[in-house]
Symmetry: C2
Subunit: 464 residues, 2 copies
């Protein structure tokens, strides 16, 4: 097992304090892509990332889209005969609410017990930034990289990457690459570097139920006017059967089974369901009967309520018959489920089960395709060696319950294989209060990525 | 048919502008009993009502309770041999939210098309105030009333009159009365004065479902961790069967059937279900199969969702698996259902149907007993004559879907018959945005009540 090259390691060690200071600066920008009141912050984060790329030695530009801007960094110094590798990350973050559940403010980075707490620390600013600094180490310590590099940072990952596919398509020639590297996922356990074999897709809906024209007195109207909140509950209750299986007709028709060998490998991973339950703080685990937790998370689709709102939700009692009720409902998808097909099934199902007396609208807010990797070839081998060198142990192959919709787009538009190698950890609270990233993983991950460039240069990933 | 005595009518006509000005003053006080931030306003409204009673010629005092204060006005000038009649009303109001749906501000009384728009205009400040002014007419125009009078105004009607029963019990000797009059209901139709034969009771619950210890990433945990919002929906969906009948075991065991004659009389009332539907703005009516709308509203219990809250409810999409979900659920009750018994049935039912993997708590926020009137005797006859005189037409006997929990308390503690005669109108938006009271009903109702005192003096309501 080779070690991380000393010149790169020395550079990153020497500049450790500045790197952390810069990371904190980025994390202080509340670039919440879902909230229009943060549009200026999101734009500021894009400019910040572009400047950071320039400081690292790349050329960088900020490209407006119909949504939030895309940042492109480029270093083409390896010449036209060398391979080109594209690094993707995102500078936008999830909303930080509920703010009162954060131990320290969401946008004031704070280190406690080796954990860096901040919205975006691990998802994905911290992981994007360690790539920028790994590139900087090469370009500052050696003045060059062994391959050409493109960095693509978007600002709409947390709202479905709505405009990214169009951007990649419109700039396909410029973005042409032999491989794509993404760090927006987690290691399976501390000290256990991980390469991802799959991602779930997403189909995210809002269900709006309109009852009476306005809120009514529940005494004067209750019993005759159909209650939209009760109607919504009855609709949501039809989404699963008694065995935790999704009851939307046709929902599982395109689910591809996993090879027995992969299911077997999953069972060998060091995973304690009771520890997972305790870490989630859940009274008991549930879900679809007949599957282990890792199978449920990595290989099976879901249908979840993400939000509910209707009527009076304040202190005390108000005897109101609400005019309307709303649910946010999202399905995690697995290969080969298609978000558009799931949208059609969901809409047909809700229309079929919706009670009389209310008007029900299902809106598809966004979707992303599921993905499964090919676990072979020079890109995979280079990553395996770099991770082993930096972390001192062979990486494991894992699945991922979350979604990175753009992965499918890269593969489809650029035709390049995608490597997913992330440095988060279980319990990192991505999308929740007290999101954190391990400082050790940031530091070691940055060195693993620095080494990865050497491996890519040595072994080549040029597509034939 | 006798007319309203001319001296009382003349007094009220002369002072019309001042009476309206004073009413507006009362309506401007945002005495929202459900919200602790309005405690000072609620206290101010109590003092205002007490002063108004004093100005009318009664003695008045404000009595603190563990909640909001009770106002007592008294005029004992008819002497110990004359009957005593107690008038009850409430000076607290429902929350005004959602504020953006009010055409004019909730606490800025505004007259449009003969309707007085303001929170509390009809429920119940306007109706309480017309009683105060009817008493003032007698005491100012004649210097006396034919019977002794007690006015009891509370500030917790909209939150379940929690401390009123204890207050009445503690002051039973002082509050001893031969009859109780309450105006906190509506006429069946414009121009059709109405005497109420029944009220529904209430059992109001909050259901809290706790899943994981905090909000989780729906990708990283979804499929294995039980979703509390989905669990809540599944619980709520068990509350009714497919025929709109409440499916809580034992729920109907104590429902007393109505006499066939009363059900028959209900069918003769001028009621258009399509008009009711259109006025509610509901796409179609629903509820328990096999009953007319008036039967559903007046004679059958309900189980309604009044509010829902869980997870992310803002703009756009957030892929969160919520830590908790909350529903406000209330049951309207009919004789002889008992709120405490319904609480026990609800708690047992929810415990039985709650999914594994979540912790479910059912809290009984407040309750009130249903009530049915005796439609005979001198009190009923006096009301019938006074209403006929003021409105120029015989009153009808109607039911009421709403709840006035204190009615049962008066009958139980004071042993006095209760007369419910109200001057609201269908569509008055009580508990909703744009609550209004008909100015004509205010004016004519005030005169009917002024005349009622003469009728009570002439015919007597002294209990034997």
């Amino acid at each position: 097992m080779s070690a991380v090259p000393t010149d790169l390691d020395a550079y990153l060690t020497t500049h450790d304090a500045r790197i952390q200071r810069e990371l904190f600066e980025l994390l202080r920008i509340p670039s919440v892509s879902a909230r229009s009141e943060h549009d200026a912050d999101t734009a500021r984060a894009a400019e910040w990332v572009a400047q950071s790329l320039r400081d690292a030695g790349l050329e960088a530009s900020v490209h407006p889209t119909a949504g939030h801007p895309v940042v492109v960094g480029e270093w083409r110094g390896a010449g036209p005969s060398a391979p080109t590798v594209l690094v993707y990350g995102h500078y936008d973050v999830q909303p930080a609410e509920p703010l009162e559940l954060w131990t320290s403010p969401a946008f004031e980075p704070t280190v406690r017990d080796g954990k860096l707490f901040a919205r975006g620390s691990v998802d994905d600013k911290g992981q994007l930034f360690l790539h920028v600094k790994a590139l900087e180490a090469h370009l500052k310590a050696r003045g060059k990289l062994p391959v050409n590099v493109i960095v693509l940072a978007e600002g709409e990952e947390e709202v479905g990457s709505e405009h990214l596919a169009a951007f990649i398509e419109a700039n396909a020639a410029r973005l042409q690459a032999d491989a794509v590297i993404i760090s927006d996922s987690a290691m399976f356990a501390p000290g256990l570097p991980s390469i991802l074999s799959s991602l779930r897709g997403l189909a995210y809906f809002q269900i709006d139920v309109q009852g009476p024209a306005q809120d009514l007195h529940s005494g004067s109207y209750g019993g005759a006017v159909v209650n939209p909140a009760m109607a919504l509950a009855r609709i949501l209750a039809t989404l699963h059967d008694a065995h935790g299986r999704i009851a939307i007709p046709g929902f599982y028709d395109t689910v591809r089974e996993w090879p027995a060998s992969v299911r077997q490998q999953m069972k060998t991973l060091p995973f304690d369901e009771e520890h997972f339950r305790a870490e989630a703080g859940s009274p008991a685990l549930g879900g679809e009967n007949g599957y282990t937790v890792l199978e449920q998370l990595w290989t099976r689709p879901t249908c979840e309520v993400n939000g509910l709102l209707s009527g009076y939700t304040g202190e005390g009692a108000k005897t109101v018959l609400p005019a309307k009720a709303m649910a946010k409902v999202s399905c995690r998808l697995v290969p080969d489920q298609d978000p558009a097909a799931i949208e059609a099934l969901m809409k047909a199902h809700v229309a079929r089960v919706a009670p009389k007396g209310v008007a029900v609208t299902v809106t598809h807010l966004h979707g992303g395709r599921p993905w499964r990797a090919e676990l072979a070839g020079p890109l995979f081998d280079a990553a395996r060696r770099a991770l082993a060198a930096a972390f001192g142990t062979e990486p494991v192959i894992t699945g991922e319950g979350g979604s990175i919709p753009v992965v499918g787009d890269f593969q489809r538009i650029l035709g390049a294989p995608v490597l997913l190698v992330g440095f988060g950890l279980p319990g990192e609270n991505a999308h929740a209060p007290d999101e954190w990233m391990s400082m050790e993983n940031f530091t070691t991950g940055m060195r693993a990525i620095a080494m990865l460039w050497d491996e890519l240069g040595t072994n080549g990933v040029r597509r034939t």
